[in-house]
Amino acid sequence: SAVISQKPSRDICQRGTSLTIQCQVDSQVTMMFWYRQQPGQSLTLIATANQGSEATYESGFVIDKFPISRPNLTFSTLTVSNMSPEDSSIYLCSVVVGNTNTEAFFGQGTRLTVV
């Protein structure tokens, strides 16, 4: 299993500013994932972050808007850049332990409100 800590748990930000969300895992994991859950909607994968390589972004998400760092096997950050009210959402960090036939573990999420 894995225990994931996300910081901050919530924040209210002014439009045009940026917020960096941190994700710390209690064990080394190869793959870390960042999801977004907009109000009333499903979780949507933003990107996959592997240590030592650039993040892989899903369709509709770009590095300039959501830069990701993955400096080691237990830590990652997601930055939401130049925020607008449409970025108001819950952002979740997730990890998979092992390569196949395993479950994903989730952090408690960061609730972001952009005003």
Partner: protein
């Protein structure tokens, strides 16, 4: 495009009632299937998972789900719900069974159980 549909967005039940939450996915190949639960104020937790074998899967807290390949379905059931089952439930699909563990989530079903 791959997608996951959850039939009910909101379900209200009385304690001891039976529960069935529908989940259908669109993907023609082999899949891994999951149900996650999010209790109020807590992070996503795995309820149960299906990888292969017996299509009737038993999870924690008395939940079970049945994989019906011909119907592309993975419905969640519980014979008698409790007030503590009040939560949001997410069906998720991982297309393919190999290394990359991207999950596709349904929109979620919010369950309220009244005493």
């Amino acid at each position: 495009a791959q997608s996951v549909s959850q039939h009910n967005h909101h379900v209200i039940l009385s304690e001891a009632a039976s529960l069935e939450l529908g989940c259908n996915y669109s993907y023609g190949g082999t899949v891994n299937l999951f149900w996650y639960v999010q209790y109020p104020g807590q992070h996503l937790q795995l309820l149960l998972k299906y990888f292969s074998g017996d299509p009737l899967v038993k999870g924690i807290k008395g939940f079970e789900a049945e994989f019906i390949k011909s119907k592309f379905s993975f419905n969640l059931r519980k014979p008698s719900v409790q007030w503590s089952d009040t939560a949001e439930y997410f069906c998720a699909v991982k297309p393919g069974t190999g290394g990359y563990n991207k999950l596709i989530f349904g929109a979620g079903t919010r369950l309220a159980v009244h005493p």
